[in-house]
């Protein structure tokens, strides 16, 4: 057991089992943040030019097509701001929503209001609930800390599938450096790893997977060449505060409490299962990113961490609801909560394959080849 430590700059701590600190007590995540900001964020005139060029490229590639880009919408801050931004830039997006059976009323209302006001068409991929419930239950039973992976994987899959179907090259995503860089991989690993999802489901699922949107190893790399996933929020001066103001004032958007709390399952997973079972408080990384980007002070973040993830009465309400939806009895749910913790590396995955020395040796040359295509 290592001694408890917290980063001197952000609020990441040894609840990330892989965290490292430099001689000044600053963690590896802060260093990653600085590196990513250096590499991806361009401010001022240079930034404006870069954005202009991107918009021109998207428009050119989309000429004669009904849409020139696809975006994902969840009803949350980042994705809604992407919708707002792309319309402001004069692009013609198609919005995709993944309905995994856990949308809150707030989420669907936010999507409805913003897309109507922005005049953006919506396509919804509704996951087969019986099948998806089986996947989510399997992840809980597998006892790894990453039960949101199936949803995240499916979102990437449907965006890629739709772009391919429409012949659209650009997928604009809400991921961004400033507000989400401090995520420890030990807390959630293998989002693009179909083998991991499939193997885990094979072990703990009860019915065949027939319709779940996914992509394998080959498709993933093919799409890296044929499609462009653009983190457009890195192209503008994106701050949470300003985004919230714009969305609320201009789009009739309503706030739902915490990062990703627009989904009931995510709220419960991040606000209850992760902290209670695994000792991970995801707010730590979100707040840490905001500290590094200058949106809040370390003291403010520490104060916020003192508050419960969300109201205990709502946690209890959610616990009952989640158990009911997943078909868990109280006893089964307690078994899940008390099961020994496992990790991504305890199950078969592409990750294991990639770790082999021969593959590791090949990576630099593959990267060079990929760069040629891009």
């Amino acid at each position: 057991m290592t001694e408890y430590r917290m980063c001197k700059r952000c609020v990441m701590d040894t609840s990330d089992p892989e965290i490292t600190f430099d001689k000044n007590g600053v963690c590896n995540h802060c260093h990653t943040y600085d590196r990513l900001v250096r590499e991806h964020i361009v401010d001022g005139e240079a930034g404006r030019q870069r954005l202009e060029k991107l918009v021109a490229d998207i428009k050119r590639a989309g000429q004669g097509k009904q849409y020139d880009c696809v975006i994902g919408v969840s009803g949350g801050v980042d994705s809604t701001y992407v919708a707002y931004l792309v319309k402001k830039l004069g692009l013609r997006p198609l919005a995709l929503h993944l309905d995994n059976g856990w949308d809150s009323e707030l989420a669907v209302k936010n999507i409805e209001e913003t897309l109507k006001r922005l005049e953006i068409d919506l396509y919804t991929e509704v996951l087969d609930w019986e099948e998806f419930r089986d996947i989510q239950s399997a992840f809980l039973k597998a006892s790894t800390p990453d039960s949101e992976i199936p949803t995240d994987h499916a979102i990437v899959a449907i965006l890629g599938n739709m772009a391919a179907k429409l012949g659209v090259k650009y997928i604009l995503i809400g991921n961004n450096v400033r507000t989400e860089t401090h995520l420890p991989s030990a807390w959630s690993e293998g989002h693009f790893d179909w083998k991991y999802i499939r193997e885990l489901h094979k072990r703990f699922g009860t019915r065949p997977l027939k319709t779940f949107p996914h992509f394998g190893f080959f498709t993933y790399y093919m799409r890296m060449i044929t499609q462009k996933r653009i983190a457009i929020l890195d192209y503008v001066h994106y701050t949470k505060k300003e985004a919230l103001r714009v969305l609320q004032e201009e789009l009739g958007w309503r706030y739902y409490g915490g990062k990703h709390y627009e989904s009931i399952y995510t709220r419960f997973y991040q606000g209850y299962i992760l902290p209670v079972k695994f000792g991970y408080d995801k707010r730590r990384c979100h707040l840490s990113s905001l500290i590094c980007s200058g949106e809040m002070t370390r003291e403010q973040a520490l104060e916020e961490l003192e508050i419960p993830t969300y109201s205990p009465s709502m946690q209890e309400e959610d616990r009952e609801y989640v158990a009911k939806k997943l078909g868990f009895s109280d006893e089964e749910f307690n078994t899940v909560m008390n099961a020994p913790k496992r990790s991504y590396w305890d199950y078969p995955s592409y990750g294991h394959f990639m770790e082999q020395p021969i593959i590791q040796a090949m990576i630099p040359s593959v990267k060079k080849v990929m760069a040629l295509f891009q």
């Binding site: 919005a95 059976g101 809150s104 669907v108 209302k109 409805e112 897309l115 009911k324 939806k325």
Partner: protein, 252 residues
């Protein structure tokens, strides 16, 4: 004056909800528990839930699923599909269903309407009538989810059902279902003008103007609709919505 009710009508197929067009081409909408919860949070007037495969599959209601659904709804819930006996009626009432909708049973075993009304009050005994226009433009009543023609006339059937104790009639146009081209106002008016009990129009709503029209011109007491509350935009993206109290007041 009380504002006429505007009711989302949801179709259950197996364990999932769907939306049909002319009773065909079921499009999957997702898990009923979450969808009902969203409508509940939107504070809709009431909800109609119809199990469209119960009668064709010759089975009764899925009580366990319905129990999970009613536990998420604090709004009046009307259920139809496979109700064949007083035993079904009692069980449904006990899990929190407020209104029992009968369609095939109302034709094949009308005394069940009487018994339901006697047991739970006429407001709980609802008859739904599925209607299709024949080749000569004559309205005909269908049962078994639109699969079986009965040769009954909808107006006469509605009057008959009122006599049996039905406290409400849902009149559903098979031809308009899911088309979003407007209600069959003429059909609704014919029925509404022939009975004293409230008539709920169903089938064809494309927007709130249609809803308002079927109430004003069709003399319906309430309007039920599917597509406008589950789809958004030209691509019919699945998204649950319901007008705000302000919008409802404006239109209806």
């Amino acid at each position: 004056m009380i504002r006429p009710r505007v009711i989302p009508a949801l179709l259950l197929r197996g364990q999932g909800l769907v939306k049909t067009v002319k009773f065909k081409e079921p499009k999957y909408l997702g898990d009923p528990i979450n969808i009902v919860r969203i409508f509940n949070d939107k504070e809709v007037d009431e909800l109609v839930l119809l199990d469209i495969t119960a009668t064709p599959e010759n089975r009764g209601p899925q009580f366990d699923l319905l129990k999970n659904i009613t536990s998420e709804a604090f709004i009046p819930l009307a259920y139809g599909g496979g109700i064949r006996s007083m035993n079904d009626v009692r069980k449904l009432l006990s899990i929190g269903i407020e209104k029992l909708i009968m369609n095939t049973s109302a034709v094949e075993n009308p005394s069940l309407i009487r018994e339901t009304a006697d047991h739970a009050g006429s407001q709980a005994a609802v008859v739904s009538i599925d209607v299709k226009k024949g080749l000569l433009g004559k309205y005909e009543v269908f049962t078994h989810c639109g699969q079986k023609k009965t040769w009954l006339d909808p107006v006469k059937h509605a009057v008959e059902m009122e006599k049996m104790g039905a406290g409400e009639i849902i009149i559903n146009s098979i031809d308009r279902d899911g088309t979003m081209q407007g209600y069959d106002v003429e059909l609704v008016r014919k029925v509404a003008d022939s009975v004293q009990v409230p008539v709920v129009a169903c089938g064809g709503a494309g927007n709130l103007f249609d809803v308002s029209e079927v109430i004003k011109q069709g003399h319906a007491s309430a309007a039920a609709a599917g597509s406008i509350f589950v789809f958004q935009g030209p691509l019919r993206g699945v998204l649950i919505s319901y007008p705000t109290p302000k919008e409802l007041k404006e239109f209806i």
